[in-house]
Symmetry: C2
Subunit: 305 residues, 2 copies
């Protein structure tokens, strides 16, 4: 393996940053990794895990770094940038891993010094766990990382970042920010909001006790609870910053839901059957694209009690 | 293992019936298994797989059976019962595996001859696949089977059926029909309708091409597509026959969704954060109850391409 960057700085040390550190080490992709997190606890855990050289200030972490990656919630990026902007090395690449791209570009761009290449990115990978202990080296294997070059972004900087992500196991693709935010509103943001809603409803129902909902969760609800266990701060920021696209897709969702609800109320079995047949085909496509297994029970290892 | 029933007849030979046949054989739980399916293709496949003694008529399959299990979609049960009712052996137990219980009891009861013990049941297990080839012996391991005794049901018949389900790997519990239908509306029926809706919306969007939705599905949408790949006929019947409870939970869902939508529109981050924090706890309960794994990526085996 060739070293892609001599020094990489990770700002924020949660699930994504810690997985990046482990994946970069696995691939021998970088010479040195520094890191910073605002919380002392997080810094202590990262040190204990020996994830990277943990610094006491963000300034110190980014000094002389060839690549700086913002791995903080979308809503915290402007503040972090105001802090580290002046310390960035001329010629360095600045990137991020935010789930929303238009709002990140608007928040970060004003603080990018001349001569620093800003290349926003979004790895489509994660679990419902958060914090530095949640990271693992294979998180990005066979997942997609979407690169969102801004107008005038240096092509060499874009391509070098793509080589890094490929070295960490990901497939890379490029997209503009608006399109990214719409695609993600469909494949991720709206599904998450819906899952959060359904789990909240179940939790609210007084006649169906918590223990019953939990006991009988394997019937479909279980998959919703995993999604709805994702990091609350990250997801609050996603919805607040991808407001327009999420509200648009939610509107379409509600319209469709009302049509199906009406079919149930009026007993229109043909409408329901036709709808459910159509949605089956899209699943086949996902299996064929290698983005999931069709093994029984999701390929889960049976849980022993 | 002790033999629980000398002869068991399975009416309908799909995912559940074929898994039952394999699980009963695994446990040495029954002396003889007969089966019938309306479709000649299904009967031929079941014979080829050597699942059970496949009969050419339902009458022939149930003759002398000590246990008859209706494994057809909920909407087909009355018709099947009209057919086999007169052929049931006095003293036999009649059961089913329908996802809805009140409607099944109303449909089936009028056709149950005197001296036959009707014990409705619902194993909470399944995959998105259907048909006799989809069955596997471990489907019910560590899953719940809910028994819904009707008023006056013979206790000995109930307990014997529970022994069979436990022998097939399941945990058993008893519940009345109304409560069952409400719990399942929360843990299964409404989540399925929502997943079907979201996948349909994604499929409809012209600006987000199919291939993008599929490529980037791992970000949350993927879990919805699995749920939305379930058998269309079975699910049509579920919604038509558990109309009241499903519409009630859907109403609660929509109300909650509108509140979250409003929080997004008005930028109320505190409301979103508090909601997302609450839903996280319920996930922990499911892991602790042994109904899912907290392994990264759902415990899926990485997909190789």
């Amino acid at each position: 393996m060739t070293v892609v960057y001599d020094k990489v700085a990770l700002i924020g040390l949660g699930l994504i940053a810690s997985s990046m550190a482990l994946a970069m080490k696995r691939g021998g992709l970088v010479g040195q990794i520094t890191g910073y997190a605002r919380s002392r606890d997080t810094r202590d855990i990262a040190r204990e895990l020996n994830l990277c050289e943990v610094c006491e200030t963000a300034d110190e972490a980014v000094r002389d770094a060839d690549l700086v990656v913002l791995c903080v919630p979308v809503g915290a990026m402007a503040e972090v940038m105001a802090d580290i902007g002046p310390a960035l090395k001329p010629g360095a690449t600045l990137s991020d891993v935010g789930s929303v791209k238009k709002a990140v570009i608007e928040a970060v761009s004003p603080f990018v010094p001349d001569g620093v290449h800003f290349v926003p990115a979004h790895p489509l990978a994660g679990t419902e766990h958060s914090g530095p202990r949640a990271g693992f080296a294979t998180l990005f294997d066979n997942r997609w990382c979407i690169i969102v070059p801004t107008p005038g972004t240096d092509r060499a900087a874009v391509e070098r970042l793509e080589v890094l992500w490929q070295g960490m196991g990901a497939n890379t693709d490029e997209m503009d920010a608006d399109h990214h935010d719409l695609v993600l509103a469909v494949t991720s943001h709206t599904p998450h909001l819906i899952a959060y809603t359904m789990v909240g409803v179940a939790d609210d129902l007084r006649r169906v006790t918590d223990s019953e909902v939990i006991k009988y969760s394997a019937a479909g609800f279980r998959d919703f609870t995993r999604i709805a266990a994702s990091d609350p701060t990250m997801w609050r920021d996603v919805f607040l910053t991808n407001k327009e696209a999420t509200l648009e897709i939610l509107g379409r969702f509600t319209e469709e839901l009302f049509a199906l609800q009406r079919a149930i109320r009026t007993g229109d079995g043909d409408h329901l059957h036709a709808y459910f047949t159509r949605t089956r085909a899209i699943r086949r496509g996902i299996i064929d694209a290698g983005q999931d297994t069709d093994a029984p029970d999701f390929g889960r290892t049976p849980v022993k009690r």
